[in-house]
Symmetry: C2
Subunit: 253 residues, 2 copies
DNA sequence: TTATTTATTCGTCAACTGACGACAAACGAA
DNA sequence: TTCGTTTGTCGTCAGTTGACGAATAAATAA
């Protein structure tokens, strides 16, 4: 119901059946091999995970962790994460000193890594009409950034006020917003007001509407009827159709 | 950094200095009164909270809990909540059998209770131009529903996929969206497409943009430059200006 | 005053949870 | 084979955390 109860599947057992490939169940282990052994497994790797090189395992953990924390929140338990990776909980601490370090790494890779520099180039490619540029940009943005994983991680981090990283995102988005405004204004031959905050707020009219569509889809699980492309097209057209009016309203105050 | 570490102020002590009024420090207690007593307080209410009637205390707890869970997430600890209420943790369980029950109650009061029935009436008051109606509605909506408390609680619940209550909210919002579309179309004498999902998506153009503004403001802590009223006015005008165009685009597909 | 109800607390249990020391087994070079 | 290096696990500690039995004292009735 609330977070702490997250998945709660097979918590009791350690790792079993999580590994698809190379599951060498019980490597040679002739039962009476060495000293003390009753029934419980001894340290080492009895039915342990497949051996992996350092960097590979680290990458795998990061992948699984991204998915895991996106679904279960940043408060997801390291034991469950380890289980999903098919390794012991202890092993996580060979790669990340603390859970917080793991979270930071996940955040940086997944959240900050999702923004593409090409967008700025494409948005300013004046050989294309603005409608086409905006359409292309927001389709890509919706598909590669505003994903379920990205949105959930970002919201969890924002709600927790977890300052995972300095405000790179805010800065990037601001750039995008200003670029959009500048380009549309140029195509329309419209004079823009000075105040940058006001400018951005106008661009948010489009950017926010599309972001909120993603939130509806991935967080509230609604608005699933129309295709993403249809929605993007609609929002872009509405924005462009009302552009002059919007600028006029905002300037004349 | 991440949720479990929430506030972390004076966890060790129980309740001390939280109660402003009537702090009857150490009521008569002649030290050697009855049996077992070394130094620690005995049960009862040594420097306990002010005595309150059942319903009053219950209401107070709900108030504090709303604020508390909105800030700290649904995983906030009952001990901290109790501390904020100025009572012992045990006392919470006199009013709510489990933490989950408390959460449900908070959710119902705060989330579902924030929607006003008058909105439907006002939105359909054809003696007023649509621009005025929308402006008034969204100003109120932003101020009384899309508050920090409401948004944070709603997002925490949505992310946790906590089915606190059946989808009343979705139903209410759908009604609002359809009402808006119907009214604007009537004023403009525009023919609307059949598909209700498509209709709603069009209304989301405005509703989503404003909701996202609230999220920026209360969750991401940005977009604080302009006043709420300015923003509402802008969004409403943009929506109305592009209305015919939007309907045309959406119908012709 | 005395008895009864009711608001409130203490103390504690069991399950959870991040972290880590110590040890075992696989790999590979000598 | 032998031995060092690296990958991996077990077991456990200390601090949380929801829940609750039992005791206490303030308010109210008798």
């Amino acid at each position: 119901m609330y977070e702490p109860e997250v998945v709660a599947s097979g918590v009791g057992m350690n790792n079993k059946g999580c590994q698809e490939e190379n599951v060498q169940t019980k490597p040679k282990m002739t039962e009476g091999s060495s000293k003390t052994n009753g029934a419980g497994n001894k340290p080492g790797s009895p039915q342990g995970a497949v051996r992996m090189p350092f960097n590979e395992r680290r990458a795998q953990i990061l992948d699984v962790a991204t998915e895991f924390f996106a679904e279960n929140g940043l408060a997801g338990q390291t034991r469950q994460l380890a289980e999903k990776c098919g390794i012991s909980q202890r092993l996580l601490y060979r790669f990340f000193p603390t859970k917080e370090d793991l979270l930071k790494e996940v955040y940086n890779r997944e959240i900050l890594g999702a923004f593409k520099a090409v967008w700025f180039v494409e948005l300013q490619d004046r050989s294309q009409p603005m409608a086409v540029r905006l359409d292309a940009f927001y389709r890509d943005y919706l598909q590669s950034t505003l994903t379920r994983k990205w949105l959930r991680l970002f919201l969890y981090a924002s709600l927790a006020e977890a300052n995972m990283a300095p405000d790179y995102i805010a800065a990037i988005v601001m750039q995008l917003l200003e670029t959009v405004m500048r380009e549309v204004a140029h195509e329309r031959g419209v004079e823009l007001p000075e105040d940058p905050a006001l400018l951005r707020e106008m661009a948010w009219t489009l950017h926010g509407a599309i972001s909120h569509y993603a939130i509806r889809r991935h967080i509230y699980q609604s608005s699933l009827s129309l295709s993403e492309d249809q929605v993007v097209t609609m929002h872009v057209r509405v924005f462009l159709a009302g552009f002059e009016d919007m600028v006029e309203v905002c300037s004349g105050r």
